[in-house]
């Protein structure tokens, strides 16, 4: 993750943030969009602003999702997926998917 030099909530403290694993933390969709124009190996790109349980936010691509059924407030979980491939190199990163049942 990018280094956040200063945090508003910590009163402008520098380099005093602790790493926190979020891979097993669920979240809720604050808002979302469907990009029918941008390139993706799995178009259209479904993308949401996810607020994690207990704090923290990440705008992130969704996967394994029915775009037409998406609403604000839906619950999601993290999953490690392929973003792009270029020159034979695969770039993996986190996506979010709806929590089933």
């Amino acid at each position: 993750m990018p280094r956040l030099l200063q945090s508003i909530e910590s009163g402008g403290a520098i380099d005093e943030m602790d790493p926190a694993p979020m891979s097993d933390v669920a979240g809720t969709i604050a808002t979302f969009t469907i990009d029918r124009i941008a390139y993706s190996p799995s178009p259209p790109i479904v993308f949401a602003v996810v607020d994690f349980d207990g704090g923290g936010r990440l705008p992130i691509e969704l996967t394994d999702v029915e775009a037409d059924e998406l609403t604000i407030g839906d619950r999601v979980e993290m999953t490690f997926r392929k973003l792009f491939s270029a020159d034979g190199i695969h770039n993996y990163f986190w996506k979010a998917r709806p929590i089933r049942g």
């Binding site: 956040l4 508003i8 604050a30 808002t31 979302f32 969009t33 469907i34 990009d35 029918r36 124009i37 941008a38 390139y39 993706s40 790109i45 993308f47 602003v49 607020d51 704090g55 923290g56 936010r57 990440l58 705008p59 691509e61 609403t71 604000i72 973003l83 792009f84 770039n91 990163f93």
Partner: protein, 397 residues
């Protein structure tokens, strides 16, 4: 904020603006010559009479030489500036503050962009800084589409009403643009056509998105006390405000995508500089950054033209139509002009220059007792944007 402003210290005494559109036969140099020549003639000055220049361009040239070469300026200072989609307004800030400081008697702000030839949308190259490759690659349309479900849910607007609101904004701006010979798209578009156009991103359709265009616009500024040496009808700068967002909306769950805090802050600062206390009842007309229809909707609330959650009703009531209480984008907006990034802010000011001095064509001249015009840019995305708000008036005091 700690800005003092330069109310009534600087006046615009001449402006120029090219037609915006597909200028396949013109380079950025040609457009700069066209806009500057019109502005020089408008102010009754020659290029040698202008002491310093500010060139706004995001991607059509680097350094002040991008202006000095086509205009063949002789030993003049030229600053080239960039600030996302507020680049043209940033050029005006530089020129106006330089004159207010006393450093120069006369300055020009000029903006240009050649976007059509690039094959891309507005801000090409602006995000080309090195990254770890995990960032999003969404279109601007998709980013602004995130405001639609957020606004609708928070204020209880159903999907059909929301579509009607966005279509009204688009139809209004096309109606105005149809009455402007400098606009790229000069046809009225019905709400039926807008609502039947192809989906681009989220709920946004083709006609909810502004276009791509080439264009240039320019302004000559002088000290207010010198203004009448140049023109009988100067436009005085009341406020110039700018906020560069810290991108906290991407990380802060308190940001809910129903407002643009950077715009609200810039507007508050501009109103304070100008002494405006009730924008809804003091602003004569506004040129705002309608890159996508939901942006214009939220901007109406950020600028204080409507209460939070009420702008959608005001849009439908015609408050911001050409002959409504506050005409918004009477020239047709980005919707009709397209968005040559470096030029748009000055294109907006050109419309304020025409409207407030009663020199707009009859078919779109607004009628009002109010005297203060507003221009506004945003650059970036919901949660992470820069914002400019400017106020001008033909009257001192």
């Amino acid at each position: 904020m700690g800005s003092h402003g330069i109310k009534d210290q600087v006046a615009i005494v001449g402006m120029g603006c090219t037609r915006f559109g597909e200028h396949w036969d013109k380079s950025a140099d040609d457009l700069l010559v066209d806009a500057s020549e019109e502005a020089f003639a408008s102010a009754g000055v020659a290029k040698d009479d202008v002491d310093a220049y500010w060139l706004g361009t995001a991607m059509s040239g680097m350094s002040g030489m991008a202006l000095a070469r086509p205009l063949q300026l002789q030993n003049k200072p030229v600053s080239r500036v960039e600030n996302f989609c507020a680049t043209g307004s940033e050029a005006l800030r530089g020129a106006a503050y330089a004159v207010a400081s006393g450093a120069y008697d006369t300055a020009m702000a000029i903006g240009v962009e050649k976007v059509k030839d690039s094959g891309y949308q507005g801000l090409v190259g602006a995000g080309k800084t090195p990254t770890d490759g995990t960032g999003r690659t969404l279109t601007a349309a998709a980013m602004f589409a995130m405001c639609v479900p957020a606004y609708a849910k928070r204020y209880g607007v159903d999907a059909e009403e929301m579509r009607e609101v966005l279509a009204h904004i688009s139809a209004k701006n096309h109606y105005n643009g149809a009455r402007n010979p400098r606009a790229q798209f000069r046809r009225e578009v019905s709400t039926e056509t807008i609502c039947a156009s192809p989906l681009m991103a989220g709920d946004l359709r083709v006609y909810d998105c502004s276009g791509v265009a080439d264009g240039s616009a320019a302004a000559v500024v002088v000290r207010a006390e010198d203004a009448h040496k140049y023109t009988d009808s100067p436009l005085y700068i009341k406020a110039l405000s700018f906020v560069a967002g810290n991108c906290s909306g991407n990380a802060d769950p308190d940001y809910d995508y129903t407002a643009f805090p950077e715009i609200e802050a810039a507007a508050e600062d501009a109103y304070a500089q100008a002494g405006v206390t009730d924008p809804r009842h003091e602003i004569a007309m506004a040129e705002v950054h309608d890159c996508f229809t939901p942006a214009e909707l939220l901007i109406m609330e950020d600028l204080g033209f409507a209460e939070r959650g009420a702008a959608w009703k005001e849009v439908l009531a015609g408050t911001f139509d050409l002959h409504g209480e506050i005409p918004v984008n009477p020239d047709g907006g980005l919707k009709s002009f397209g968005h040559p990034v470096g030029a748009s802010g000055l294109r907006m000011m050109f419309e304020a220059w025409l409207q407030l001095r009663h020199q707009a064509p009859e078919e779109r001249q607004i009628t009002t007792d109010r005297t203060i015009g507003l221009t506004h840019n945003l650059g970036g995305y919901p949660g992470e944007m820069v914002s400019f708000v400017g106020l001008v008036s033909p009257e001192l005091g």
